[in-house]
């Protein structure tokens, strides 16, 4: 199809207009974190870094950040183990329930978070389990399994079993084959899946709200709790700006991981 010069121009304008809409709100958050006015009226009335130093020493935000990282690490570790096991079972064996596994794994993320949240909350309350750190980890791991599973499954399908068979023919035990042949092949997929799982868990608020105890706060919970408090606005704004800046890290890492090895997938 040959596009007229006008059509090309319109498409380009639409694309860059769309990108502007995507990035302007995020830039506004960044700029506002240096806005001396406490109400963040636009345009900013000057320039200050005092909110950043104040946020850095805010005990609530720091504790919430730490909790978020701990929960994300635990949930990622669980998801790595469970997702890889399920991927091996589906990729390497023929059995009746293979299709069902893919469906089951994707279900916790396909259903709205609030449904997963309520379901876990009902089960915990029916089972008499007290909400806390571990219940959040369980909730997060449940919907993180799918990203590890998808990455590992794609990699296992691409690599095939020939190298493992060669290793076994040369006398390696199953364990040796796994450690020296299978695992190195999977490393990229595990890193990509783990990164996605960590990011998903770190950002999750819905499932967290339904599985966390009153005294514990992850960073999203802390932000949401302080969002409507006028005197906390500057600190919330700085935390938001810091998260915008931090979101570049996983993009950079994912890009590095995907170079040359086919990349990860959601």
């Amino acid at each position: 199809m040959t596009l007229s010069a006008r059509a090309r121009l319109l498409l380009r304008l639409a694309t860059f207009g769309g990108l502007a809409v995507i990035y302007v709100p995020l830039l506004v958050v960044l700029v506002n974190s240096f806005n001396p006015s406490k109400t963040f009226g636009w345009p900013p009335s000057g320039f200050t870094t005092q909110w950043w130093s104040r946020a850095a020493s805010n005990p609530g935000a720091r504790e919430a950040l730490l909790t978020s990282v701990e929960i994300a690490l635990a949930a990622t570790a669980l998801a790595l183990v469970l997702g890889s096991m399920a991927a091996f079972a589906v990729a390497r064996y023929r059995w009746f329930g293979r299709e069902t596994v893919s469906f089951l794994v994707v279900l916790p993320i396909a259903l709205p978070g609030i449904v997963t949240g309520i379901a876990l909350n009902s089960a915990f309350s029916a089972g008499g389990v007290a909400l806390g750190f571990l219940t959040v980890v369980v909730g997060h791991a449940t919907f993180c399994i799918v990203v590890v599973y998808n990455n590992v499954l794609a990699r296992l399908r691409r690599t095939g079993t020939t190298l493992e068979e060669a290793s076994a023919d040369l006398g390696a035990s199953t364990l040796q084959t796994f450690l020296h042949v299978t695992f190195p092949q999977l490393r990229g997929a595990l890193l990509a899946g783990g990164l996605l799982a960590f990011a998903l868990s770190f950002d999750e608020i819905v499932v967290t709200q339904f599985t966390i105890s009153a005294g514990l706060q992850t960073l999203p919970i802390w932000i949401f709790a302080n969002l409507f408090r006028p005197n906390q606005a500057p600190v919330v704004n700085v935390v938001a700006a810091a998260l915008v800046v931090a979101s570049v890290i996983p993009v950079y890492l994912a890009n590095r991981l995907s170079e040359g090895n086919g990349g990860g997938r959601l």
Binding site: M1, I22, V28, W42, N121, D203, N237
Partner: protein, 305 residues
């Protein structure tokens, strides 16, 4: 292969325990499969599906608030469901939520189509890589931060009113429109990506053939591109639709006093502590999404996810 544990070397002439375990497993593939499946299935079937089942059962219980203390009545009854179906307020909230979900889906499709088309068919390969990265990056930014960003955009003395002020315009303020804008913003990448992938799968030669046969750009788009792209658009709409149905946070941040259906669920857990009623309400989005999935299944959209 993950169940064997290494132990110290056995006596000379006798294979070690690790080697024996590993060869035993090698000879029993079914056992290996069972070992691999046990943990993930225990988690997903027993813990997750079990939880969904508990939620479903809970939906038929009732919280009796008649006395001084709320009492959980475990005799199965349909009362929660009848209340949800017959009371006017729930119907209004449900219709509003479906309306917002539809609006978000339409707006995201209209924004995603030209962007994805430019990325896939017009831009040079290098620009394409950059554009894909630019569209993907905001997916990693925190959900709450993005919703908060629109709160600062749409606030009374925010950017939108400041930009529209000189031409005599005003932003929508906090309410239904602000909620639709924010949700559309949040889910836009989920629409662009499947549409972009769908466009990449359409060979350029098809578009050229249509042009050679006299089709104008507009006609080629309508009669060649759109029909081929339809499953991808539907795939994107599954995300925009289902994510909107389950959202109750964005609306709290930019919606003013607007309520969405998920707020009904959340408020019954939080303030009222009425878990059975919340569980019954949560059945509705699940049914809506399953219906939607069944409806779009024949378009082949599910293979595009």
């Amino acid at each position: 292969m993950t169940t064997s544990t290494p132990t110290a070397e056995g006596l000379p002439g006798r294979p070690s325990a690790a080697v024996r375990a590993s060869s035993f497993l090698h000879r029993h593939p079914r056992l290996r499969l069972a070992g691999l499946l046990s943990a993930p299935m225990l988690w997903l079937v027993v813990a997750y599906l079990g939880s969904l089942a508990v939620m479903f059962v809970t939906a038929f219980w009732r919280l009796d608030t008649g006395g001084f203390v709320a009492v959980l009545d475990r005799t199965p009854s349909l009362q929660n469901f009848t209340e949800l179906l017959t009371e006017d307020v729930y119907r209004r909230v449900a219709l509003r939520t479906l309306g917002i979900a539809a609006a978000v889906t339409v707006v995201d499709t209209l924004v995603a189509l030209p962007m994805a088309f430019y990325m896939a068919k017009v831009a040079s390969p290098r620009t394409r890589k950059v554009l894909v990265a630019l569209v993907l990056t905001p997916l990693w930014a925190s959900y709450l931060v993005k919703a908060y960003a629109w709160r600062t955009m749409l606030a009374e003395d925010g950017v939108v009113n400041w930009a529209l002020g000189p031409v005599g315009g005003r932003g929508p303020g906090f309410g239904v429109a602000a909620t639709a804008i924010t949700l559309g913003y949040l889910w836009l990448p989920y629409m662009i990506l499947p549409v972009f992938a769908g466009l990449e799968r359409i060979p350029d030669s098809l578009l050229e053939a249509s042009g050679d046969l006299g089709g104008t750009a507009g006609r080629t788009f309508r009669t060649v591109v759109l029909p081929l792209l339809f499953p991808s658009i539907v795939a994107g709409s599954i995300f925009t639709f289902s994510l909107t149905l389950g959202d109750y946070i964005a609306v709290k941040i930019v919606g003013g006093s607007t309520q969405m259906f998920a707020n009904v669920i959340y408020d019954n857990i939080g303030v009222a502590g009425n878990l059975p009623f919340a569980a019954a309400a949560a059945v509705f989005p699940v049914v809506a999404i399953l219906l939607y999935l069944a409806l779009v299944r024949r378009t082949g959209a599910l293979d595009n996810l």
